[in-house]
């Protein structure tokens, strides 16, 4: 019943897999065609909210009845494009649409301050396209379709980053760097897909997995694997390929940093996981030892080098950006363990770090209302003048370190467990050591915000429209640190699914 075929009449429930992509995708041109500045935000918010509602419905449906498949245009896969939703992708859909829906109310005031009014309409259109692209990357089960959505999300992201130029011209060079690096990444990715197509004759990921599983790998498929991992690695910001990230996050408007830090690299990690584990299978990863030899050392370097660089930053936003690179190191470490616990740790850290970093960047956005730049010497003592904003940032900072009771602790605990399970105790120590570096840079933030006298006195709290989203996300970091049932359950079932290949879809025998 969950499989749509040509000519078969579908109910609304049957359309759930396509709606989270189509709704924002329709809303984006609608904003531009209507051309009314006042309508842009309400349309964007409504589209984002309905995408969230659909994603939650989809998650519930998937957790209850297993994976869902949707055939675009009624053409059955492997010929047609298939959307395939399972626990992992549904969770990602909820994360992306949820963050967009929470950050958008914040964007209203923050953008009024950071972006000239005539650009707001196109900003929201680009935002919606970005949401739709990220959702598509996660929902699609067709390798080339994923590339198309990757480009949709990337191109709109470049525009979003460049929109910081009104405040800071360096946003233009940052966006340009990102454009060059991102395009190289996308090119590598599509070259990899081309090799896969040449070797197997299909683009459907389930079909690819079956063919590679049956025929084994040859030189072409190994090359494809290398190209896909490096290409996606660029979008993920794996350590030596991370150079676009600090500039992009630092100079983009704060709302963009908050949204991207929580979603863009995360969706790329998701695609990487999908290719590594469902197209290529864990057995292949064991065979080539790519993870042990390449991924683990790079993850360790990211965890330490990026953290050390973060400590020495004098710009709060840039510090958070480097901390993101370090946190991506944790995710890669979890993947590199190549065990179910490790993968669960990676998936849960995707989610937990997403909300933590979003809260911190939103905090910076609120601080920017009262300071012209996020440099440390311009925001001294602002925690005292903006107690609610400051306190939220402290809690999110604790989650970044991984203090018990916050979301960050859950993922690091799982990561340490995964290391000990394998008997690799030096890695467990490395996780703890890198967290200690996080203590230093979070402490620097607290010191700047609280322990110095503000330049001007008086309370200057951020408006309610910013505090509510900020505190919603901050509360979520605490909630998911205490009540781990939902996230841990979803992460574990996602890890299980990844380790065992594609979950067969109801009403369909086997793959292909």
């Amino acid at each position: 019943m969950s499989v749509s075929d040509g000519g078969q009449v579908l109910t609304l429930a049957g359309h759930l897999p396509i709606l989270p992509v189509v709704v924002p995708f329709m809303a984006a041109p609608l904003v531009v065609v209507l051309g009314a500045r006042r309508l842009a935000w309400p349309i964007a918010f409504a589209a984002s909210l309905s995408a969230l509602a659909v994603s939650v419905a989809l998650l519930l449906q998937v957790l209850e009845g297993g994976g869902v498949s949707y055939h675009i245009g009624g053409w059955a896969p492997p010929l047609g494009i298939e959307y395939r939703i399972d626990a992992a992708s549904a969770l990602m859909l909820v994360l992306i649409s949820g963050l967009s829906t929470t950050v958008l109310p914040f964007a209203r005031r923050s953008l009024a301050h950071e972006l000239e009014a005539r650009r707001h309409m196109l900003f929201y259109a680009a935002w919606l396209l970005c949401v739709s692209g990220l959702m598509g990357m996660v929902a699609s089960g067709d390798a080339f379709n994923i590339f198309v959505f990757l480009e949709i999300s990337s191109l709109s992201t470049y525009a979003l980053v460049a929109s910081g130029a009104g405040r800071d011209r360096r946003a233009l060079t940052a966006a340009y760097d990102y454009l060059i690096m991102g395009t190289i990444g996308a090119t590598f990715f599509v070259i990899g897909i081309g090799f896969l197509y040449a070797a197997t004759g299909t683009l459907n990921m389930a079909e690819l997995a079956v063919i590679i599983g049956e025929n084994g790998t040859d030189r072409t498929i190994q090359t494809a694997f290398a190209f896909i991992v490096v290409g996606m690695g660029l979008k993920v910001a794996v350590y030596p390929l991370h150079l676009w990230l600090p500039g992009a996050y630092t100079h983009a408007p704060s709302v963009v940093s908050a949204f991207l830090a929580g979603t863009a690299t995360k969706a790329a990690v998701y695609v990487l996981l999908r290719f590594m584990f469902t197209v290529f299978r864990p057995e292949y990863l064991f065979e080539v030892r790519a993870l042990e030899v390449i991924m683990l050392p790079l993850a360790l370097v990211a965890m330490f080098a990026a953290s050390v660089i973060a400590i020495f930053q004098r710009n709060l936003k840039r510090m958070l950006a480097y901390s993101s690179i370090a946190q991506i190191g944790y995710i890669l470490l979890g993947i590199g363990f190549l065990s179910q616990t490790g993968l669960a740790a990676a998936v849960i850290h995707l989610f937990n770090h997403g909300i933590t970093k979003a809260a911190l960047f939103m905090g910076v956005g609120a601080l920017l209302l009262r300071a012209d730049t996020p440099f440390h010497d311009r925001i001294v003592g602002l925690g005292r003048r903006m107690p609610l904003t400051g306190f939220a940032m402290v809690i999110a900072g604790l989650s970044l370190i991984g203090v018990p009771g916050t979301a960050g602790f859950v993922s690091k605990w799982l990561l340490v467990q995964a290391a000990l399970e394998k008997g690799w105790w030096p890695f467990a120590l490395a996780v703890v050591g890198s967290s200690l570096l996080a203590v230093i840079y979070v402490w620097r933030m607290i010191e700047v915000l609280y322990l110095q006298e503000p330049e001007e006195g008086g309370r200057a709290e951020a408006p309610l429209s910013m505090l509510v989203p900020l505190w919603t996300v901050t509360a979520a970091t605490v909630y998911f640190g205490l009540a781990t049932g939902l996230t841990l359950g979803a992460a574990q079932s996602a890890a299980e699914g990844l380790m065992s290949g594609f979950i067969p879809v109801a009403g369909e025998g086997g793959g292909g």
């Binding site: 000519g7 329709m26 984006a28 065609v33 949707y70 009624g74 011209r169």
Partner: protein
């Protein structure tokens, strides 16, 4: 203003023919080589040529910037809207059979024409807007502005 008389006259003559050819490529896309993308580019060529010979202002008088921006979005809306129509009539997204349930082959043809129409509008809009952006770019940023 009186320079390049031959260029100006032949541009006037050609612009219409180019547009006509664009529409031919657009609507014959399902029988012969062509389609929305090619047609959109050819249509844009008419405006680019006009702009090159008569100047950017003259071209933008015919087709102002905001119209071009709307065109880009409108094409996407037509494309995605076709999908939504089939979605609302109970078929899969972009299942053209929905457009003419009695005769699926007619539905498929209509669907292709609609979707390619959307592509044509958007591609023409993007091409013209790329030309506008390059031709109308402000002078280099001076050092003080950084």
């Amino acid at each position: 203003m009186r320079h390049h008389l031959i260029l100006r006259v032949s541009t006037k003559l050609l612009a219409g023919a180019i547009m006509l050819f664009a529409f031919y490529v657009q609507f014959h896309g399902d029988y012969s080589p062509g389609g929305g993308f090619q047609a959109g580019v050819i249509l844009a060529v008419a405006f680019v040529l006009y702009g090159l010979v008569y100047g950017l202002e003259a071209a933008q008088e015919v087709l102002p910037r905001r119209v071009v921006h709307r065109m880009m979005a409108l094409g996407v809306l037509v494309y995605a809207g076709t999908g939504v129509v089939s979605l609302l009539s109970g078929y899969a997204y972009l299942d053209y059979n929905a457009l003419n349930p009695g005769m699926p082959e007619k539905g498929q043809e209509a669907g292709i024409l609609l979707v390619e129409g959307g592509v044509g509008i958007t591609v023409a809009g993007v091409m013209i807007s790329v030309y506008y952006a390059f031709a109308g770019r402000p002078p280099r940023i001076s050092d003080e502005e950084w």
